[in-house]
Symmetry: C2
Amino acid sequence: MGKRIGKRTIAYDTPAVIRSWATAAGRKEARGKLAEQYDFILNHNQFGEKSWERAEQKMQQYALELALEKAGLQASQLDYFLGGDLLNQIIATSFTARAAGAPYFGLYGACSSLAEGMILGACLLDGGFGRMAAVCTSSHHDAAERQLRYPTEMGVQRTLTAQWTVTGSGAYILDKGHGQWQITQAVPGKIIDRGISNSSDMGSAMAAAAVDTITAWLQDTDNLDGVDYIVTGDLGKIGYEICKRQLLEQGYDVNGKYYDCGMQIYHEEDQDVHAGGSGCGCSAVVMGAKFLPQMAAQPHCRLLFVGTGALLSPLTVQQGETIPGIAHGVLIEYKQEG
Amino acid sequence: MGKRIGKRTIAYDTPAVIRSWATAAGRKEARGKLAEQYDFILNHNQFGEKSWERAEQKMQQYALELALEKAGLQASQLDYFLGGDLLNQIIATSFTARAAGAPYFGLYGACSSLAEGMILGACLLDGGFGRMAAVCTSSHHDAAERQLRYPTEMGVQRTLTAQWTVTGSGAYILDKGHGQWQITQAVPGKIIDRGISNSSDMGSAMAAAAVDTITAWLQDTDNLDGVDYIVTGDLGKIGYEICKRQLLEQGYDVNGKYYDCGMQIYHEEDQDVHAGGSGCGCSAVVMGAKFLPQMAAQPHCRLLFVGTGALLSPLTVQQGETIPGIAHGVLIEYKQEG
């Protein structure tokens, strides 16, 4: 049974344990900052498939299978499979769910889907509705680009505010046992819309949502000192600066503990990604390849992971609508065994 | 705290009460079988807006506001808003969530989204994570048609297996109190794919998923006699016949208690809808306008609602993929007060 702290924060009674995880990344990502940290690298953007969409699906399925293997589990042991991706009808995740054969909750939170899935997965386990859940998300640069912006082959010149959709996937296995990484709290996101309608400036569209979720958690728990890391999903360097400044304006100095996954993947000087990485795969690979392992450097470490999503619809942008943002937060705690 | 019955069924300890609901429908729907039963009717397919997509969003928002009003609630009292629709990036629901301002879990289960939201909403309340949740879904014929099949204005000749996407929306307010309509059990769906790739034959693509979920519940509970109605979401008459026959082949004679929402909306003889209604709005309006009220005719009535979804992606169909189906089930019980 969960309980609520303050206005919006969920405190789990029996925290879900992150029992294992696996990350997959593309070749451009493999030339970046976390080159050695991914579990596997795609040999090619098409990954032996006829299309980028199929490549994305196969990559996500491999990530799930590897995460299960690390935990010594079969897909048939999963009570639930939760996840989503950027493709219309979240088809990469749905086909992975077809292969897994587990009861499936399809989610759409754009790039916040991993955090959304972690919140709901942890609720299902803590609430007594099951013992084991997988949460998977993915994105593929070429598939996302042609769906959301311009034909990928056109190689359109990108603005300096633009982010690069990460080709990557992460799979996380949650269970109801003992373990070092635990999801102990959550802050479900609200839609926040500050009137951005430029589909090449997602960081600005999402920053206000991240600020809303982080301040909601800080107000509910009054525990800025007790958290070691605050990690947003994919604000990129423009959104990161906005978020940091707005937090400071509200009296929260997060200097030295605040990071953004979108700034952890590529080398800024020579990978030509402008404002950084983005996409459902961005936080999915950075959390697994960097932050979760890094938490183990301390005996006890607390990390607030805030998955950020811009619910960008090319159609409604063309119709004059602005881009709604959302940010879902989970508090992950690492405790050394023994 | 929930518990599990058998392999897949959830039994809620504190069932969520369906405290109020509201339905909205288009003009074609208003000329159909449930003409007098909808809470409100759109004056025009564009509903005073510049586009069908905006009309869908406005319709869903009106449905939510009316359901809240019936319950004497404000949107600010909602702990969670869950929902989805057929538009890419579930934008009708996301903009409604923006207006509502409540913590938001965006879902994508195609036409099964209402049942998916009811399962997760009931889990959140029973698990102790909140007291009040709204579940909303919608679809708009003209918006769905141009996104998923052909330009709407083209008026392409439809096959006899085709269904007509319902212009409609339903909003359901769940709370953790006392009330007559309760969600007492749930059966989360699995992806079932029988190899259908014809985007004008959704009933066949979804029927096997409905059979899978219904038999899972019957095997877990062994209670065919104890259920008064089994209601699928939008199989239409072709999927309905397949589902009924396959259940019989497995030894379950559902004759006299099995209905499909897709066959309850339009007059078959003169509304030219071929196999029936479909879309997220289909079960959303039929459950609220027909079946929930009808349950009150008996002192105690049990209805298994099985929302059916075809996760149809025009892109992956063009790439040669088949259409995965899913069906989420909830057991709704009505008990007369006193």
